[in-house]
């Protein structure tokens, strides 16, 4: 049985992350000389038979070094060069003018030092997959020349609570020049991640952006059936009725069976043969929100149960620790129990009826 559940290309706006502030102030990711700007990052995530596939494309301009931190939902088994037209073909299917780029997601660990679990080079990109908590990953990034914006500690912690896996990508402008890469050339990166819990990070898109800055992204899902998501998107008519001054968040632009020609085109790209050739549902979501309001990720349930997890969307605190023993949950339950007991005692003292 086909078990394709999720295919998520995201074209978004890491752009704000890198150009909204002075070079030394902005985030994370720009080199000290500030000579390199991220023009666009485009990403795709796919889920098939328990394996998530991310295909991310970075486009840069300049000749220095540049980097990006990407949270992942699990430990990748390999990181390879992505296909040549998958992202473009998906965008072409739903929108003639692709924009931006993307991000991903992950969970938490609290080791003092981040552990490097995978390193590779793809064209002009140096890719390092890290395992660690927010502090250790942030420390690693700082020690390796990443300039994190002031909101990075909180955002890293937001992701590390759900997955301790992050991918650091550094762009070497001089190597790109040696390889004949021109400004605007994208380098797709394909990350293969076995996981039982695919989700799409959105909050990372607002990293380093002023609260009022617009964040725009395009999210595509390809699933076996019509998926349920959290947050629940609104329709394009509802969005347009809100007025230009209101940014609605998530807008459902397209929900339909994927066309045979689209699937055939995607399957013919490098590394995409795992994609089923039929019976795939295409969903196109548009993110349009102020950075300060983008405090969530996108949880997806493509199983048909219709129950996307609030925790996966970053809407509920994570209740279990890395060992799965769930002390936080037990503490919470104990506190609730204590309040119930105290409340009951107080009620008995005052003689008020229970309600």
């Amino acid at each position: 049985m086909r078990r394709l559940r999720l295919l998520v290309p995201i074209t978004a706006v890491f752009l704000v992350l890198f150009v909204a502030s002075p070079a030394l102030a902005c985030g994370g990711l720009i080199a000290p000389n500030g000579s390199v700007q991220l023009v666009r990052t485009t990403t795709l995530a796919a889920y098939h038979e328990g394996v998530e596939h991310y295909v991310t494309s970075f486009e840069f301009a300049g000749d220095g070094e540049f980097g990006s931190l990407v949270p992942l939902p699990g430990v990748p088994t390999k990181v390879i060069r992505g296909g040549d037209w998958t992202l473009q073909r998906l965008a072409l299917e739903t929108q003639p003018q692709p924009t931006g780029e993307l991000a991903f997601a992950a969970e938490a660990g609290a080791a003092d030092q981040a552990r490097v679990i995978l390193e590779t080079k793809i064209d002009a990109l140096d890719v390092v997959v890290l395992e660690g908590g927010a502090v250790s990953v942030g420390k690693w990034a700082r020690e390796h020349g990443f300039l994190l914006p002031p909101d990075a500690p909180e955002v890293l912690e937001f992701y590390a609570k759900r997955s301790p896996i992050f991918m650091a990508v550094r762009y070497d402008g001089s190597r790109a020049a040696d390889q004949g890469l021109a400004a605007g050339d994208g380098t797709p990166v394909h990350v293969v991640i076995p996981t039982t819990n695919p989700w799409v990070p959105l909050r990372i898109l607002a990293l380093g952006a002023p609260a009022e800055a617009p964040v725009e992204a395009d999210v595509y899902l390809l699933t076996d059936g019509e998926p349920a998501t959290l947050p629940v998107p609104i329709g394009p008519d509802e969005a347009s009725a809100l007025g230009e001054e209101i940014r609605s968040g998530l807008v459902l632009e397209r929900s339909e069976a994927a066309s045979p020609t689209l699937l055939a085109d995607l399957r013919s790209d490098k590394g995409m043969s795992w994609l089923p050739s039929e019976d795939v549902w295409l969903t196109y979501l548009r993110v349009d929100v102020r950075a300060g309001d983008l405090t969530y990720d996108l949880a997806i349930d493509a199983s048909g149960a219709g129950r996307p997890a609030p925790v996966a969307a970053g809407l509920d605190p994570v209740a279990t620790d890395a060992n799965g023993s769930g002390p936080a949950l037990w503490v919470a339950l104990a506190l609730i129990a204590a309040f119930v007991v105290v409340g009951e005692l107080e009620r008995r003292r005052s003689g008020r009826p229970a309600f």
Binding site: S21, P22, L24, A25, C26, G27, A110, D112, A134, V135, S136, V137, G138, K139, A141, R142, L148, P149, P150, D151, A152, P153, E154, L156, E157, G208, P210
Partner: protein, 134 residues
Amino acid sequence: MRGLRVFGAALLLGAAAACAPAQADPAGPRTIEIWLHHSRFESSTIQADAGETLRFVIVNTDPIDHEFIVGDDAVQELHEVGTEAHHDPRPGEVTVIAGETVMTTYTLGEQDLLFGCHVPGHWAYGMRGVVLVG
């Protein structure tokens, strides 16, 4: 981790007390402990007396560097447009490396002062507070 940092801060406080020179006030300068977390000062208002000397102990729990600068509007403006990546220790002006705890001492005048972080973008992000004198 936080426990270790608290312990480190306690050690620093103890060392500072042990090394403090004799002063008119036998108790020495009052110590103000300030925690930096998620690029925010956990306490943004400090009450003090005119002419009082304060010993600030700044604990940075973040994985990024911060600063702690005490001074009036002119001092804050100077640092906001300045180019020093790190500050040599000066009274009321100190860089706080990620995960570290530092100390600085400052004697107040008659005016209220500001304190904050001028790592690019941090002041605008809200990393600032006020010392109310009087």
